[in-house]
């Protein structure tokens, strides 16, 4: 029995959100934090001042909201999909962050670093091609799939509303 198309759509939709929200959030955090720079020293006054600068930086705030959106999507998708299936699906995000860093922030990316990023993406994809579910014994598979099937009418009732 295959997974219902609705469940598949729900999974792909959330994974696409992960791939967009994560890199753009990271990019905005990077943009904001690079402007602020590291804390001057470890005195209470310096740390307070640093914290204030972070809280009032629009780029850091928007980036944080996007990363919270990323975290919520991630958490939701993990309620029905395996961690070891979802994590590799975000492989592309490393390439996207590097491209955004290069073209949106004008960071200098050396050929060695591009090579490293490509190998990271490849490694993540290799991890992704391993069996997504290893913790559920064969006898438990059938009920899990039934659950996926019974989901369909429920989702339809949600869409009908």
């Amino acid at each position: 029995m295959s997974v219902s198309p609705k469940l598949r759509f729900k999974t792909y939709l959330l994974i696409s959100m992960l791939i967009v929200l994560g890199p753009v959030g990271d990019l905005l955090l990077g943009k904001g934090m690079r402007r602020i720079g590291p804390a001057a020293d470890w005195s209470a006054a310096a740390i307070l001042h640093h914290g204030f600068q972070i809280l009032t930086s629009p780029a850091v705030c928007i980036g944080t909201v996007l990363l919270i959106g990323f975290f919520i999507s991630y958490t939701l998708v993990l309620t029905w999909a395996d961690y070891s299936y979802v994590q590799p699906a975000t492989a592309l995000s490393y390439g996207i962050v590097a491209l955004l860093g290069r073209y949106a922030l004008g960071e200098g990316v050396t050929p060695l670093r591009w090579g490293g990023i490509a190998i990271v993406c490849l490694g993540v994809l290799v991890i992704g091609y391993t069996p997504p579910r290893t913790t559920v014994p064969a006898v438990l598979e059938a009920p899990a799939e039934r659950e996926a099937e019974t989901l369909e009418p429920e989702l339809e009732s949600v869409h009908a509303r």
């Binding site: 962050v97 960071e107 990271v120 490694g123 069996p131």
Partner: protein, 125 residues
Amino acid sequence: MLVEILLFFCIVVIGTVGELCVTRAMKIIGEMHQFTPAAIVSFIWRAFRVGWMWLGFVMMGVAYFALLGMLSRANVSYVIPITSLSYVVGAIGGRWFLGEAVTRQRWIGVLLVCAGVILVYLGKG
């Protein structure tokens, strides 16, 4: 250099262990079937009654501030690829904490990630 190692440790190790804790909590709560406001509120309520969720949140919070600290020092195209070392921690944690069987192919993927991170580090320029 020492600060950098410490920050990366917080992002990679503490962040990933936090994710594993949240995953464990979500598996306890179970799949969300309905997306009505009442269902979402009830879901969040149940989520906050699982201890693993809180532990996971605190650890992910630490990782978040470490990420901010690291991004104030270095480029995103350097910092973010290095955080992919979380796959190494994920494989080890999945094996020992969630009881997942980590196949040989998955270990090969983990080794490739490590090799890529070393190149990113060397290419810091």
